[in-house]
């Protein structure tokens, strides 16, 4: 390095080239905004998940709680890692799957399982019970419970439809019930929407 001028040029070329060829060209080559989000594959109508309405609010809750610290949302291709063998998905996730998301939450750590298709694995009641107390459902887990996603309230007559069915020490006192908050309802709607149960031209399910 002889002068500031030559250093400036080298640094400028280094950082700008990686920015341009990786990120700007990346947008062009992945071309996300041009990808069809409703299409026909093998005669079936396919619509990409957009997480609208309640599920959209749930995605915000997911982001705000920081679930990404332990969960990914990407299925690697068959033969690369154990994603298929663990039944975390029946096809690889591809760019089109994420097109409609405001903030793409791929994640980079799997202290818990991948959630790309978690909506296909469980029912709403399971998610509520799991968020309320994960160790009720799995003997060994490092997932915390989220007590603030639920509230205890008094009821008269019959309990609410979405009240948790609890046993043992968790059972609330007579006349009380544990119900999910609005955030929990939205979050579970979002988790239920995570389900890549359709084929795409570039990624077909493996039966």
């Amino acid at each position: 390095m002889k002068s500031f001028g030559s250093l400036f040029i080298v640094v400028f070329v280094g950082i700008t080239a990686s920015w341009y060829f990786l990120l700007v060209e990346g947008v062009k080559s992945l071309n996300p905004s041009e990808l069809d989000t409703s299409l026909q594959v093998n005669g079936d109508d396919v619509t990409i998940i957009g997480h609208e309405g309640l599920a959209g609010r749930g995605q915000k809750v997911y982001r705000e709680l920081g679930c990404v610290a332990c969960h990914t949302q990407q299925v690697r291709r068959p033969g690369y890692g154990g994603d298929f063998a663990r039944e975390w998905g029946s096809r690889q996730s591809v760019a089109r799957d994420y097109v409609l998301q405001d903030q793409v939450i791929l994640g980079s750590k799997r202290l818990g399982p991948d959630l790309s298709n978690v909506g296909s694995r469980h029912e709403a009641a399971w998610f509520f019970a799991h968020l309320n107390n994960p160790s009720d459902l799995s003997e060994v887990t490092n997932m915390p419970s989220y007590p603030f996603l639920f509230e205890k309230r008094e009821f008269s007559g019959s309990p609410s439809a979405n009240a948790l069915v609890l046993e043992g020490n968790d059972t609330p006192a007579e006349g009380f019930e544990i119900v999910p908050t609005d955030d929990a309802v939205a979050l579970v709607a979002y988790l239920l929407s995570l389900n890549l149960d359709y084929d795409l031209p570039e990624s077909k399910r493996i039966k």
């Binding site: 990120l23 007590p147 603030f148």
Partner: protein, 480 residues
């Protein structure tokens, strides 16, 4: 290099060091405050990974938020503040020029730390983003960018006013850092938050940013510090200073591309991942040359290291740079990444770079520079080497178990015959080691903070004396 740098006239250097006192102290103070905060949250974030029910009744202390707070405090609070302090001191010293308009730097420090505080409160409230190293809410992006831009422009301006024609390796790396840090921030803010790019390109932008933040910003400043300190303290020339330029070229031209390698297996075209892998492999040149220059030179003069606290820190950082270089190359390979991806092994590697290389270098510079700036020795000299050995234990206790445990975690996770609960159960054991390590790291940080308080005490006393004297003078109507 060393011969030229030590030719600076003592009085000139001392004057420059003194002129730098206020900004250095302000940034150092902020860095230590955040380091203390990050130590608590680093411990808490680690503890929560194997003890999930701990403090989980409040929404502001979820694992995800605590981890984001810890990252923000550690990386932007401690890391950037100490990087500002050290880089400005170094550039002024190497350029033989006083930094001018220092008040602006202090205002920038206030804004940086205010914005960061607002950002951390924002994370507690739930305004966090889902990208690594970009968890801070987007509304503090602009103030953070502007404050760091001031520091970077001031650094470059100081260099432009230099009194020496020599252009040292330390300066190349410092200037590269000053040029790149604002650039990557503005790209990330615009492409992710102001006008978000659609779909998975977001993950690509975040990965590009994270890699460049770690290597081209923190890494550059660490390398600059080592290029300065090692020949200076050993009083000898570096073994391969003549080819340092090649290492720099590779660092800037290839190092900027490494980010994509992390996304292997994800929804991206193969060429992007390959570009990251090729860049990581090219970085071998950088790691070999800096390895010879730092570690080789130190090894040749190893008799001098024992008992010299500053050199101990610098030696550890040099070794850590070599090891993390091996990590960069291995972890980028598709076959290795198949196992290591998504595991705690990547935490170990990131920590080794950020703490083992960067932070250890910064500690070494602070231990060297502060006595020079204040014209006073460390009051508790033994705490310097104590800090080193405690940090040494802490780093080994964190990196080794997470590396072994992470690899086992990856192997088990890829083997569907092992139930996931089993993977969770045994990974937790390895993560306990990280919590233990944080206790050691925190003790080290307290040793540093204690020493800094000690060395600053006379300063504060003089300050108070000055203030009281002025008051008495004012009463007597005599202007001082």
């Amino acid at each position: 290099m060393s011969s030229m740098e030590s030719n600076l006239t003592l009085s000139g250097t001392a004057a420059i060091d003194r002129s730098n006192k206020a900004p250095f102290l302000v940034y150092l103070f902020s860095a230590l405050k955040w380091l203390f905060f990050a130590s608590i949250f680093g411990y808490l974030a680690s503890w929560k990974t194997h003890n999930p029910e701990f403090l989980n009744s409040w929404s502001f202390l979820t694992v995800g938020r605590v981890q984001a707070v810890y990252t923000a405090a550690f990386v932007y609070g401690f890391g950037c503040n100490i990087a500002f302090a050290v880089s400005l001191w170094l550039i002024a010293r190497l350029s033989g020029t006083e930094i001018r308009f220092r008040l602006v730097l202090i205002i920038a420090a206030v804004f940086w730390n205010l914005a960061l505080t607002v950002g951390v409160v924002g994370i507690f409230m739930g305004d966090l983003n889902a990208f690594e190293f970009l968890e801070l809410p987007s509304y503090v992006g602009l103030p953070l960018f502007l404050s760091s831009l001031i520091v970077c422009v001031w650094g470059i301006a100081c260099f432009k006013n230099r009194s020496y024609s020599e252009f040292y390796a330390s300066q190349w790396f410092l200037l590269a850092a000053f040029l790149i840090f604002p650039w990557i921030q503005i790209v990330a803010q615009i492409m992710l938050f102001v006008n978000p790019v659609p779909g998975v390109v977001q993950a690509l932008v975040a990965s590009w940013f994270a890699s460049n933040l770690i290597w081209l910003w923190f890494g550059s400043i660490a390398v600059a510090g080592l290029y300065y300190l090692i020949p200076k303290l050993l009083g000898t020339n570096l073994l391969a200073y003549g080819i340092a330029r090649r290492a720099f070229l590779v660092f800037v031209l290839a190092g900027t591309w490494m980010g994509a390698a992390r996304l292997v297996g994800g929804p991206f075209p193969a060429w992007m991942i390959t570009s990251g892998i090729v860049a990581s492999l090219l970085m071998i040149i950088f790691f070999v040359i800096t390895g010879i220059n730092f570690f080789g030179t130190l090894w040749q003069n190893r008799s001098q290291i024992v008992g010299n606290g500053v050199l101990l820190f610098a030696s550890f950082a040099s070794l850590a740079l070599l090891i993390s270089g091996v990590g960069v190359v291995l972890l980028s390979l598709r076959g290795v990444a198949e196992v290591s991806q998504f595991t705690i092994l990547l935490d170990a590697h990131r920590f080794l770079i950020f703490y083992g290389v960067f932070s250890m270098t910064m500690f070494s510079v602070v231990y060297y520079a502060l006595p020079k700036i204040l014209g006073r020795e460390w009051p508790m000299d033994f705490l310097v080497s104590s800090h080193f050995w405690i940090a040494f234990i802490g780093i080994v206790m964190l990196v080794v178990p997470l590396t072994i445990g992470g690899w086992k975690q990856g192997v088990a996770m890829n083997d569907a015959a092992v139930p996931f609960s089993e993977v969770v159960r045994f990974s937790s054991y390895w993560m306990v080691a990280r919590s233990m390590a944080w206790i050691f790291l925190t003790m080290g940080h307290l040793a540093l903070i204690l020493n800094v308080i000690g060395i600053l005490r006379p300063e504060v006393e003089t300050c108070i004396e000055d203030l009281t004297r002025t008051e008495t003078d004012a009463v007597g109507g005599v202007e001082s």
